[in-house]
Every structure is written in structure tokens, then in C-alpha cells.
């Protein structure tokens, strides 16, 4: 069962979906609890000063999950809540993928997949060179890590022993076409990251307490980067969308669809 805060963050997503009539809803729903715990309990930031130099850097590499990111950024005051109601309008700052120079709190423009981890490695190296203590967190999708660039970056992160870098994989087991295991099998996923030089842990990506217990242990080891495999459910919170690839990206939503979505979030 989702608690009130998880439902509230999902309602913010629906406010955007209502305006845009579309969005990567399923892809965002698997992320909500991961982002909630990161922003509530892990990342250091000043929402009124998004470029504060000592902030932790957060990159949503699966940029199509931006509905979840915008939701938490509005909740934390990086952006006005009223901006959510302008999602994807021509002059909105909030598009279907997040942009660094438009949205306060967005570190990198993402959307094309496999870009976030290399950028995160660069940021983590910068912190090492300058002896800064802030941390870098990159969230990837599971389909996203089909991209070779992710594994190039993983090798580099391990080579440089970037213990200030953590990768969270939103492992909802579904990519756009269908099940990950049918499109391009990732298993054994924990072993893969381990072999690439990461210290790895698995967690239920919707269990708030489990996520909190896990993140306090970051970095898992002092001589290497960390990877957190988050087992999640695509479309989480909306039973008809859960594990349904048709909700990876949904467009043409009508009033009845929106009502059905809101009905799932009754407190």
C-alpha cells in the first residue's frame, strides 16, 4: 500500500498528465519512491539556490521518467507547483524530457539514453580533483542499460575508484516493447555490476524503510562506486497500468482515464 506522501507525489504527476494529455506515466511511477527517499533523506541541496556548489549532484539518466522528477522538484520548492500545470505547453520549462538550462535542480539534459552515467563520472572526478565531499547519484532505467556507453562509464568509474558515485537502477523489468528478459536480458544484473567493479545491493524500490536503511550505507565500500538495483513495478500505484507496457508512454488520455487514475490515489 502506498502511504499518503507517495500518493501525493503521484497526484502531482497527474496534474501534469492532465495538461499534457500524455507522458511516460508507467516509467515515472516506478521511480517515485526512489526519488522521494533520495530527496527526503539522502541528497544535500538548497532548493532556493540550485547551483549551491556543495550540493550533491543528481542526474536522472532515464530522462523519460521526468514526471517523477518534476513532482519531487515541485514538492521541494525548486519549481513552482503552478508550473506543473504547464507541462509540455510551448513555453513551459517542463518538457517531456528534463533540460538543465530550463529546470532548476536538473543537472543534465537527458532523454537520449546512456548519457547520465558518463556525465556523472565526470562530475565525480571533478569532486575528487578538487577534494570536495559532495556525492553524485545517477538513476538509470533498466532498458537504458542496454546502451554500451553505460558500461564504458562503469569501467571508468571503477578504474577511478569513484566511491562518491552511486548508480540506482530502476529495475521495473519492462522496457518500451515488452519484458526486459525478452527484449534484451540483463540477468545476472547484480553480477554484471559487480564484475564491472561496483559494490552492489538490491532493494525493493517501493519500500520506503528499506530504501532508507540501504542509503545510509552508501558508499557501500570506500574503494569503489556503488550500485543499487531497485526492484520496482512499472506503473506502480495504478493497478491497470502496473506491469503493462502500454503505459510506458501513454498519450490521448481522456477524462475517464484521468478519473480512473485519480481514483487510485484516494487517501
Amino acid at each position: 500500500m502506498l502511504d499518503q506522501r507517495s500518493k501525493f507525489l503521484r497526484r502531482l504527476v497527474l496534474e501534469m498528465v492532465e495538461v499534457g494529455g500524455r507522458g511516460h506515466i508507467g516509467s515515472a511511477m516506478s521511480l517515485i519512491e526512489i526519488l522521494r527517499v533520495l530527496y527526503d533523506s539522502f541528497l544535500h541541496y538548497r532548493s532556493e539556490q540550485p547551483d549551491w556548489s556543495n550540493r550533491d549532484r543528481f542526474i536522472l539518466s532515464k530522462g523519460h521518467g521526468c514526471l517523477a522528477l518534476y513532482s519531487i522538484l515541485a514538492d521541494k520548492g525548486f519549481i513552482e507547483r503552478s508550473e506543473l500545470r504547464r507541462f509540455c505547453l510551448p513555453n513551459s520549462i517542463l518538457g517531456g524530457h528534463p533540460e538543465r538550462d530550463k529546470v532548476p535542480g536538473v543537472e543534465a539534459s537527458t532523454g537520449a539514453l546512456g548519457h547520465g552515467l558518463p556525465i556523472g563520472v565526470g562530475m565525480a572526478l571533478s569532486a575528487k580533483i578538487r577534494k570536495q565531499i559532495h556525492r553524485i547519484v545517477v538513476v538509470t532505467g533498466d532498458g537504458e542499460i542496454n546502451e554500451g556507453s553505460v558500461w564504458e562509464a562503469a569501467m571508468s568509474a571503477a578504474k577511478h575508484r569513484l566511491n562518491n558515485l552511486s548508480v540506482f537502477v530502476d529495475y521495473n523489468k519492462l522496457q518500451s516493447y515488452g519484458p526486459v528478459k525478452e527484449v534484451l536480458e540483463l540477468e545476472p544484473l547484480v553480477d554484471k555490476w559487480r564484475c564491472f567493479g561496483f559494490e552492489v545491493q538490491e532493494v525493493d524500490g517501493h519500500d520506503i524503510q528499506a530504501l532508507k536503511n540501504m542509503i545510509v550505507k552508501l558508499p557501500f565500500k570506500s574503494d569503489r562506486p556503488s550500485a543499487v538495483i531497485c526492484h520496482t513495478i512499472k506503473g506502480k500505484g495504478f493497478p491497470f497500468a502496473e506491469n503493462n507496457p502500454k503505459w510506458h508512454h501513454k498519450s490521448g488520455l481522456v477524462e475517464a482515464d484521468l478519473q480512473a487514475l485519480y481514483d487510485c490515489l484516494e487517501y
Binding site: 538543465r100 538550462d101 543537472e107 543534465a108 539534459s109 537520449a112 546512456g114 548519457h115 552515467l117 558518463p118 556525465i119 556523472g120 563520472v121 565526470g122 562530475m123 565525480a124 572526478l125 571533478s126 569532486a127 575528487k128 580533483i129 578538487r130 554500451g148 556507453s149 564504458e152 562509464a153 569501467m155 571508468s156
Partner: protein, 308 residues
């Protein structure tokens, strides 16, 4: 030219602690001195161009000025999306030092040639493209590269190219340089084609045909001012580039003329490679000749342009 550019990076890194170097899998000993002196600003990251560009972007977002070096074609074809999004969309001051521009690597075949690099990168907003003609000009460029606020692609020649640039002409990114004043014809060149155009101009001079050479080390942004100054003053213009005729310097000059002074477009001819992959090996000079960029062709196109 390559040696000069690498030496310059080391010198810049001494002067400015924002400067760092990222190579892919270069030859042994590259920038050893820098590696010894500034180990935390020297990176050799392996054959992983997509990652390297993203990593350079991350470092640049934090205020560093990364100089990335590998073979030209691997910087343009291999990691185009990373250059487009990580560097250009974010408009970051990363420098791409591209070994073996054009057909420098002729003996290695078409996988190693960069004959469409200008076309690829000209299409990207915020990208700057520079192709110096010799090591002296490379030095002048590198000293200016530090404060340029945008991503920059720097195409290197083979090395040992005849010095034809002149210090007194100065060097600014985005500015063309008149190496030889025109008579009735004008060559417009970039990179080491300046040397070929100067030679063609000399040969034509002996026939009584006087042609100038306008060298455009910066292909993008194009120096529209100098083009506006010189193109109208001559009867014929021939662009010369070590690049496919599609989308490079010649295209850029024609596009500019078509937009800004269409009455002059018909007097422009382009020398460059035909639309095909190079099908011979040999060396840079022999492949240039084979691919229609011989001095003879350069002369002939000017004669035809001037109806001589």
C-alpha cells in the same frame, strides 16, 4: 601539428588549473610530462569515445576545460549523439583535438579517414570548427582556445606541413586570413589546403592569372565579414577543402552567398571529394590527387571559373 597542439595543452595546463587532458587509447608516452606533473588532470580512458565525451561534459559542467584527443573520425562518427547533446546542447567548453583530419591516414583506409567531419559538426548548434593550416597557426589557435566559451572541434593535419601562416596577420577564432591578395580570382581554403591553393595560385600566376588565397581556419562560425569584403571584388571564386563536397567549407560559402549576396553565387566553384568512400590507399598527397583535389584540378577549376 599534433605535437604542437599537445605541447600547447601542457603549457595551458601549467597556466590554468581548469585545463585537463583526456585521451582514448593514444600512443605510448603521450603527454608524459603532464601526466607526471599533473596526474589528476591527465586521463587515458580507453577505447570508449561515447563515455569520454560524456565524462568531459561532466567535468566541464563543474568548470573544467577538457581537451579531448583521439582520431578525428572516432570523434565525429562514433560519438555524434554525445557531442550533440552532452556538449552542444549544454554548450560546454570542451575541445576536441582530432588527429588525422581529412585523408591523413590514407594508408589505413576509409575506416580511419575524416572526410565528412565538417559536414557532421557544422549541423550542430553551438559547435565551433577550426582547421589550422600549419603548426604555427595551431599554436596561435591553442592560446586563444582557453577562453572560447563553446565546444570546439580542432582538425589536425599530418604534421610537418609547410609553414604558410604569418604571425603579422594575427589569429582570431571565427576570422579568415588573406594569405595572398587576389587579382581576378580568389581561392577560399581551410586547413592544409591553404598550401595547395598557394601552389595553384603560383602556377596560375606564371600563366598571367592572378589569384588570391583567403584562408578560413574557422569553418564555423564562418567569417561573413571577410567573405563580403573579398568575394564581390573578384571575377571567380574556387573553394578548396580536404572534405566531401557535401556540407563542408564550399557548402558553407555557397549558403552564405545564397542568403546574403545571391548575385555572386554563380561565380563560385567547389573543389572537394566526390560523394564516395576513398577507394585507394597510398599517402595523403596521392589520395588527395586521386580524389579530385590535385593542384591540377584546383588550377583547372579556376581557369574554368574565369573562362580562361
Amino acid at each position: 601539428m599534433r605535437k604542437t597542439s599537445l605541447n600547447c595543452i601542457y603549457e595551458l595546463s601549467i597556466k590554468d588549473e581548469r585545463v585537463l587532458f583526456i585521451g582514448s587509447d593514444l600512443g605510448p608516452g603521450v603527454l608524459d610530462e603532464m601526466k607526471q606533473r599533473f596526474p589528476d588532470r591527465f586521463f587515458m580512458e580507453g577505447v570508449s569515445e561515447q563515455h569520454i565525451i560524456g565524462m568531459a561534459a561532466g567535468l566541464a559542467m563543474e568548470g573544467f576545460i577538457p581537451y579531448v584527443n583521439t582520431i578525428a573520425t572516432f570523434l565525429t562518427r562514433r560519438c555524434f549523439e554525445q557531442v550533440a547533446l552532452d556538449l552542444c546542447l549544454h554548450d560546454l567548453p570542451v575541445r576536441l583535438i582530432a588527429n588525422g583530419g581529412g585523408v591523413v591516414y590514407a594508408p589505413l583506409g576509409p575506416t580511419h579517414l575524416a572526410i565528412e567531419d565538417f559536414a557532421i559538426f557544422r549541423s550542430l548548434p553551438n559547435m565551433t570548427i577550426v582547421a589550422p593550416c600549419d603548426a604555427d597557426e595551431m599554436k596561435r589557435l591553442m592560446s586563444k582556445s582557453l577562453e572560447w566559451p563553446h565546444p570546439m572541434y580542432i582538425r589536425l593535419g599530418k604534421g610537418g606541413d609547410a609553414i604558410v601562416s604569418r604571425e603579422e596577420l594575427g589569429f582570431e577564432i571565427g576570422k579568415g586570413l588573406l594569405l595572398k591578395a587576389p587579382g581576378e580570382g580568389l581561392y577560399i581554403t581551410t586547413g592544409v589546403m591553404a598550401q595547395r591553393a598557394l601552389e595553384a595560385s603560383k602556377q596560375l600566376g606564371s600563366e598571367g592569372v592572378i589569384c588570391g588565397v583567403l584562408h578560413m581556419p574557422t569553418v564555423k562560425p564562418l567569417d561573413n565579414v571577410i567573405l563580403s569584403e573579398w568575394i564581390p571584388s573578384v571575377k571567380g571564386v574556387v573553394t578548396v577543402e580536404e572534405h566531401t563536397r557535401i556540407g563542408g567549407l564550399g557548402s558553407a560559402v555557397l549558403e552564405f552567398c545564397s542568403d546574403e549576396m545571391p548575385e555572386h553565387t554563380s561565380k563560385i566553384k567547389r573543389v572537394g571529394f566526390p560523394d564516395k568512400f576513398p577507394d585507394q590507399y597510398g599517402n595523403q598527397d596521392s589520395l588527395l590527387d586521386h580524389m579530385n583535389v590535385s593542384i591540377e584540378t584546383i588550377c583547372e577549376q579556376m581557369r574554368s571559373c574565369l573562362k580562361r
